[in-house]
Symmetry: C2
Subunit: 564 residues, 2 copies
């Protein structure tokens, strides 16, 4: 029992590989449909956990994700590390100046999204405790307090991941939500410590509770003022006197570990400490973009998916599933948290749609609720059905928030060249030898591939435009284009010519890579966006050579996505 045996190590790497693969795959899949990746990652856990894989192939499931023995500890270690690192990154991405600016609204949202759910859930739990899953014999007041807290806690990790996935994290709205969630967590974890005291957990004597509250506030206040100042002062020394970028990377990670250890020690969760340290480190203007990119990419694409997928591994959602209980809890949870978040945002002066979006963001629950539920279950306060219902509520509310926000905010699909390129509009070997012929060949391809497009009319428009001012931009690239009335979606036809075609470029070189851009008449800005993305990609002259060496559309697309 002292150490991992070879069989444990095999299972550990295998389960990690499977978990990461399915989580990343479904995460990418979710993003194809413009949903946050975390939706797919949570789903991966449900698929691989007891609910689906455990029912369909119990032997495989027991082998990959055993519920007893050392592999439980191993996976738990990795996910604990993963979530702390993710919160460190989330903290590093916080833009404190926006938080100060939006903090007033964040504070209001934080207050209402605790007070309203807490009051409503407390009353409901006192009025109908049995229907809400109180364990026979549990103290009614303690049960009611537990439920009230469970309904008021938010999930900073899920909220942060959803906002990042949607490119909203550093927006004004994002920072309102993050500051509200931070405030919410701060209060939530303190009240949580009080409740632990009431239900007689070891750490929970009266003195301990006061101590926890005092230390939490001191840590948060200290890190965001003196800590932040010290980090800013020390970073140049780290950069100057250690190997770059190793010193800076280790500095951030080591501080994060210590922060996590400290907050876990004082009785609130490790992730809170990692987050606050992240805020302090990320705020320093001395922190280099290079280090930020290394930490953020490694953590968000490797550790975070493993953590979010691991949530679904914990419970079988089918056994102990009590539909009426789940539905009523879900209703209470959503109603009061949505009300709380939205009312707070309106109070803070946000427009109605954004206020609702904030409500949905705050409605996500996650790990804390599940941990709380587990403790209450062990202490005999709640029935197993309620525990399952709590987990279901955590996952359903987390999954709801992204799609709802998208609907409410009508966030534009982030415009990227890669999304409109198509193998049907990719001409690997142009036959044309002149501008005129190239335009003819490429417009004909567009007309042939897309129904309802008149190739002749396209050619006339593009040529008319080309004649006024030629569209060679240098480095072997040309961007002939036209705005087409009635066109619904932008099109880009790509033509490649090994010999090159004269497009009268400023650098005198013939064009080897020709992008024909056809954009809707009523969206004048799109053309410029496409053109500037292409110009940026081909700023490095080696890019044209690399394009000429590709054989297939996929290779070409890989170059556009990943660069040289």
């Amino acid at each position: 029992m002292e150490n991992l045996a070879s069989s444990n190590i095999t299972v550990m790497f295998l389960s990690l590989g499977v978990l990461l693969f399915v989580a990343r795959f479904l995460g990418e899949f979710a993003q194809r449909f413009h949903q946050p990746a975390v939706l797919g990652e949570l789903t991966a856990g449900i698929l691989l956990g007891p609910t689906i894989l455990g029912s369909l192939a119990p032997d495989l499931s027991a082998f990959l994700f055993p519920v007893h023995g050392l592999n439980v500890i191993a996976l738990n270690t990795i996910t604990t590390l993963a979530i702390a690192l993710f919160l460190l990154v989330a903290g590093m991405e916080v833009d404190l100046s926006t938080v100060w600016r939006q903090g007033r609204i964040g504070f209001k949202v934080g207050i209402t999204s605790i007070v309203i759910p807490f009051s409503i859930a407390l009353i409901a739990a006192l009025v109908v405790p049995e229907a809400l899953g109180r364990h026979v014999g549990a103290d009614p007041m303690i049960f009611a307090l537990f439920l009230a807290i469970a309904m008021s806690i938010s999930a900073l990790p899920v909220i942060a991941k959803t906002l990042m996935d949607m490119n909203l994290y550093r927006s004004d709205l994002g920072m309102v939500v993050v500051s509200a969630a931070m405030f919410n967590d701060l209060i939530g974890w303190i009240v949580f410590a009080v409740l632990l005291g009431l239900i007689g957990q070891p750490s929970g004597t009266g003195n301990h509770i006061m101590m926890t509250i005092a230390l939490t506030l001191a840590f948060t206040g200290g890190m965001l003022t003196i800590g932040r100042f010290l980090v800013h002062k020390v970073l140049p020394f780290v950069q100057a006197y250690t190997r770059w970028p190793g010193g800076e990377l280790s500095f951030a990670l080591i501080l994060g570990m210590f922060g996590a250890a400290f907050t876990e020690w004082i009785g609130i969760h490790a992730i809170f400490g990692a987050f606050i340290v992240g805020v302090a480190v990320g705020d320093s203007s001395h922190l280099r973009e290079h280090s930020r990119v290394i930490i953020a990419n490694f953590v968000s694409f490797i550790f975070a998916p493993v953590f979010f997928a691991s949530i679904g591994l914990k419970v079988n959602f089918l056994t102990h599933f009590d539909l009426p209980l789940v539905l009523s809890l879900l209703f209470i949870a959503c109603a009061c948290k949505l009300a709380g978040g939205t009312i707070g945002a309106r109070w803070g002066g946000m427009p109605i749609r954004e206020a609702w979006a904030i409500g949905f963001a705050m409605n996500s629950r996650g790990a804390m609720e599940i941990i709380l539920g587990m403790i209450a279950l062990q202490a005999g306060i709640i029935r197993e059905q309620l525990f399952v219902a709590l987990v279901v509520v955590a996952i359903v509310t987390s999954m709801m928030s992204g799609p709802s926000m998208r609907l409410l905010l009508q966030t534009e699909k982030k415009w990227r060249l890669r999304n409109i390129l198509s193998s049907k509009l990719f001409l690997r070997e142009l036959k044309a030898t002149s501008r005129r012929e190239a335009i003819h060949e490429m417009t004909a391809a567009a007309g042939g591939a897309i129904e309802g497009l008149d190739a002749q009319a396209l050619e006339t428009s593009v040529w008319k435009r080309e004649k006024t001012l030629s569209t060679g931009i240098g480095n072997g690239v040309a961007l002939p284009h036209a705005r087409i009335d009635g066109l619904r979606e932008s099109l880009v036809v790509v033509g490649i010519s090994a010999t090159g075609i004269d497009f009268d470029s400023p650098d005198g070189k013939p064009a080897n890579v020709i992008f024909l851009m056809l954009t809707p008449g009523n969206e004048p800005g799109v053309q410029l966006e496409i053109a500037s993305e292409i110009a940026k990609l081909f700023r490095d002259p080696r890019m044209t050579d690399r394009v000429l060496s590709t054989k297939r559309f996929t290779d070409f697309l890989a170059l556009i996505c990943a660069g040289i």
Copy 2:
């Protein structure tokens, strides 16, 4: 026992933070003295482990690094993951074309560095088994075989880390060593599996052994041919159809996990699979530098130090320390492995000094020897004294290899601007308003700071050079210089002028940052090296503005080290 409690989580983050901090600190310290960082990282483990911290502060040691309970598993999980990830990176850095070119020598070194230690140790163990730590009652032949294998196994992780730390990894010599170590490991692990069979470990029946050998060879051969081909084919799809760079990062990591799981399952160590997958992935020209940098930096600066430091945590080197046994084992270990490696390299035609360097590199032992020792101890084949001696030999040989190679190869200190800048030669506010005055002020500073330099003579030489062709290079930078006969070390004086001084730059701008370069007369190349590093740093015009905004030498040095 089912899961990590809050106290476990506190200890986990705290011990990780402490381990990483001390390892990185001593690693940086080692590099100050031109030694590989791994030397400092190994020392960190001895300091924090039972040998030092455990003796001086047993309570603190038992709290931070407990030897029982769940934290043992937690730390073991993290170090197992860490070493597999590090071997993945080491594999990715292998330059297969050099391996093919140097493979013939590598193969010879691989053969001799197994056969010679194996034979000598086998004979010694048969002749004087008691003196070498045979357990009373253990089969003499099995004991002899065990010792022979223990003496012939190399440590690919330590070797790779040492070579990387010394910037020798991708050199011809580096690739000879890596291919020899790979071959050595391949054989070593197979023989290891045979030995496990002989001493009756569960996995070791006759069929199992044949199976292990067959699967190991099939895996290695398959991954380096078909696997490599498939990775190369699939990578463009990953880049084209997943979010960049997340898809590529996950792809490499997921394959690495599966490789590790597979080789662990077939009975050899997980790290071998991770390494081979790394070679297959890293060889594809489609793999982007950006992903490589993210994985390599995060793993080498965070995970690798934690792993190497954790080695020293395992044993108290003072109890069960049997000096005659340690010395004789160390003698046998070094003598036969050095002979093996060096003879192989000479046989392959390497020059004598490089052959010895290869011998020292192959002489490193590490985790495998310790694992082997642990199994033999549990099986009652060896005495505890021998186990401690094996660990000492592993650490001492690992620590010897870097410094010995440095002495033998006389590797030049990697020349970097940061190493010759000094706060004494940093003039934050130049008073000068003309070229002549600036050169006077800066040469005077050099003369004042360095004993034996004649400021007047310096000024004359620099000004003579400056008059023939002015040294403004544009972007607000000027590089006045002179070669000084009798100067022992290159000097760079930095002068900053907020208003700027006319140095007749090609872009017409005055110089705000002036580097006065004084280099030894007998090293004509150095001046050019310094100049080109400065030109590269200031290619981005914002660099000059950033330098002007610094207040202290440290901030300036941080900019030089870490860039904007």
